[in-house]
Symmetry: C2
């Protein structure tokens, strides 16, 4: 074989080819190296932590200066959280869509107004404008306690730090209007020094502590669900916390477990009720949103998938990989969420979700219909003089049946997160609601009401609200006055006890 | 560089090294070539079709001579079909395990004996020894028609061909004892000429035809479920098939669809009932085993997985890949079934199955409890003189509730194949059973029965059978006599009408 030198000396033009080829190759390698270095710089930038974000910095925009990708995607939570079939940033009026709810919540503020939540960016705005927070006359007037602010944004840990947890819960909701201004954002989940995930709300930490579990031992992947579980859980306002007696102390009823039955047993033993139903006189429980609890019973949790894996999937921009802070339904973002694991068509995956949801919805609506009947029949039973002794077992069944309904109905996404468990819980609710009605049939027939009673017309929200005796005109006028006259002033007032 | 020749002439031993190395290499290549050729021969053997298996060859062993892997794996169906926690080839007495069933089936032969099915190899033996087929006195005596043999083996298509479908269904069960000898096997699903999958039973083909669908257009993958759907479906004995009036003509009630509600509507419109319940006098429906129907609503069917993919997964033996004809629970064979797609531990996958099954079981058992109460309460209502007019709506609710229970309870593996749909159907059943009890509470209380009635002790099969008035001693003695005296003779008698 001839050497390169021999070949070049035979064909002089070959030297130039090799020379030019080398030039081009070196140029391309240079370009590549530059690209790598640029990405590396961006990566350094993205994951570098900054120390001049203050420990209780509630201003999301301040964090956004250093973490623009996360911040800018977070801003999109203003766009609304659900699939386009419902439109974008629309506040769905759930009472209008399903007037049964008005009767189920008779005597409780939820019967006045209940909307499908919008994105995190609307958290403050939405709690201010909703009828449920009422129309306080002064900043130290009710009806709602400071506790109602707990999940609304990073000003909460700031204020808890400033005035103390018990004082925060013990304040009136109105008194904190001037303080809680930044909607759910950075400091709710992140440590400003290390950017690692952290728990900023006391209730979750306290619940773990009572169970003898150490939140500090949670893995990063577990934290990617637990930061959500600070708020997306079942909770109640406990009134007898030692050292905070009489205060609406936000507490997770987890001491006996996560299941519908375990929490129900917890509430029964504590003899707790959220309100007394105005028709059936049942001591009721209102489920908040046991999203995390129900999620833990599903296949995704079982496979180690966290909330963030689907609701905040990683995406890439300019060569940088970051967690998409536009928390939303994964149905809006199938390619980055579901399709990371599931190799099926987008339409197929969406159809799968709806199919599960529709099957569970059928049982949920059946249970609602039965609960409405049970409340109305119980109201009739009281009316014709049934004794409290005869009513006790009935009311217990109604309480449990509606709790089980609400455990599923209030659990965001539960019918997808854990459809089999959702179906199971609804089945037990249906059996209990009907058990109440079997007993009601006995007490009613005994007193001569031996035919099915006539149920009210609750075909619209307005009719249902009228039936339960709500004066929404008055409520709405008072709210309007509060929003126009007092709120604009109070929003600039600092907290003062 | 020195040439090989130069090197060898310098170091003479090198020649021997090269020579020996070449010998070894050629030897190994020879071994490899032989192995490849052997496998190729086996492959040819495995997939070659033979023409000397007769068109209606019912003897599985005859097929086995040509298809030893398939045949030998099929023989293993004798070993029993379920997970070792229940033991191997055990016939589970479901009435003993769950005496509620005795009351649910009062007045129907299922209340006498109902066992968890064993493998296909036991099909003939098990239908002969079970109480439900009774103790016929002569070969043209009842109680069961020839139709009951339909799914028991390849002698059925042979006999249908020989005597005609209507004559087969129209014969007495006893008259065919000497003909149906080969348990469910080769000719039930395979064409002997081409070995392709074929439908050998009329009911499935007829059901498709009535729906205007063409079974011949089914893909091979669809056929890998449809051959199972010849038997693993809901069916009933239709008595008014044109040209076969009065004959128990096996018919799939699919004309309105596959769902529990669709088939219920089909039966209601046809005014069909399997029997009248001996306690509540309800015109009842007995679900057979709507395995295929419920499977189609689940995620595996949705992803195009056939019955055979999990119950007869491919395996390899001696370099040959073939479908494992040991049809069994995939739980016995996780590595060849689930783990082909699911990359999880065996224990995890088994736990997942049990978890779904247990959640569905809870609702199923609740519905059983409510149905027992409803039957007993309805019995009481008749006893105290409730009119048929007052009972009609109640009996309709019981009929529908128990049908929905049975649609799930009788569907083998349904709580895994389609847990969400199973939960949905059970929920509707619970609501209906309780609706019957609400109405029963009214009619009972009106006549002075204003307290919960006392329910019978049905804690064992024997107690439950005594409660519904079954004389099992007499039944068992008659069966014993039939098996010892008449059966051994009849089993050698050819069919004679």
């Amino acid at each position: 074989m001839k050497s390169i030198q021999q070949q070049v000396s035979e064909k002089p033009w070959l030297g130039w080819v090799i020379f030019t080829g080398t030039l081009v190759a070196v140029f391309l390698i240079g370009l590549f190296a530059s690209s790598v270095m640029e990405r590396r710089t961006e990566a350094l930038y993205a994951y570098q932590t900054f120390s001049d974000i203050g420990e209780w910095e509630a201003d999301n925009a301040k964090w956004g200066q250093y973490y623009p990708q996360q911040y800018q995607s977070w801003l999109k939570t203003a766009e609304g959280d659900f699939k386009s079939k419902y439109g974008g940033n629309v506040m769905r009026d759930m009472l209008e869509e399903d007037p049964n709810l008005v009767v189920l919540w008779a005597g409780y503020p939820f019967s006045k107004e209940y909307n499908q939540g919008r994105g995190h960016m609307h958290a403050i705005e939405d709690i201010v404008i909703i009828s449920r927070t009422g129309a306080p006359e002064t900043m130290n007037d009710g009806p709602m306690p400071g506790t109602c602010w707990t999940c609304k944004g990073p000003d909460v840990p700031r204020m808890m730090q400033e005035i103390g947890i018990t004082a925060f819960y013990g304040a009136q909701w109105a008194s904190l209007i001037g303080e809680i201004k930044n909607p759910i954002g950075c400091a709710d989940c992140h440590d400003p020094k290390t950017m690692s995930l952290q728990i900023s709300r006391p209730a979750l930490a306290e619940a773990f502590k009572r169970k003898g579990e150490d939140l500090a031992k949670a893995t990063h992947q577990e934290m990617r669900s637990l930061v959500c579980a600070q708020c997306h859980v079942e909770y109640y306002f406990k009134k007898d916390v030692p050292g905070a007696e009489g205060v609406n102390y936000l507490t997770l009823p987890w001491d006996k477990g996560f299941s519908a039955e375990s929490m129900e047993a917890y509430y029964d033993v504590a003899n707790f009720s959220d309100w007394t139903h105005s028709i059936s006189k049942t001591p009721m429980l209102k489920a908040q949103h046991p999203d995390y609890e129900l999620y833990t019973t599903g296949v995704h949790a079982n496979r180690g998938i966290s909330c963030a894996d689907c609701h905040m999937p990683y995406r890439s921009e300019g060569g940088m990989k970051f967690s998409d802070h536009h928390k939303q339904s994964p149905l809006n973002n199938i390619s980055n969420s579901c399709q990371v694991c599931h190799r099926e068509d987008t339409e197929r995956l969406i159809a799968d979700v709806y199919e599960r949801q529709e099957r569970i919805l059928e049982s949920r609506l059946k249970l609602e219909e039965l609960l409405v009947k049970a409340h109305v029949e119980a109201g009739k039973a009281w009316e014709i003089g049934t004794t409290p002794e005869d009513m006790n077992g009935i009311l217990q069944d109604i309480r449990h049946a509606q709790w089980r309904w609400d455990y599923i109905a209030a659990s965001h996404g539960g019918s997808f997160h854990s459809p089999v468990e959702s179906g199971r819980v609804l089945s037990t609710g249906i059996a209990l609601a009907q058990e109440a009605r079997v007993k009601l049939a006995r007490v009613l027939t005994k007193k001569g009401v031996d035919q099915p009673i006539s149920y009210p017309d609750i075909s619209t929200k307005a009719k249902a609200q009228e039936y339960i005796g709500l004066d929404m005109k008055k409520e709405n006028a008072a709210k309007k006055e509060f929003l126009e006259k007092r709120y604009p002033e109070w929003v600039n007032q600092p907290f003062a006890k």
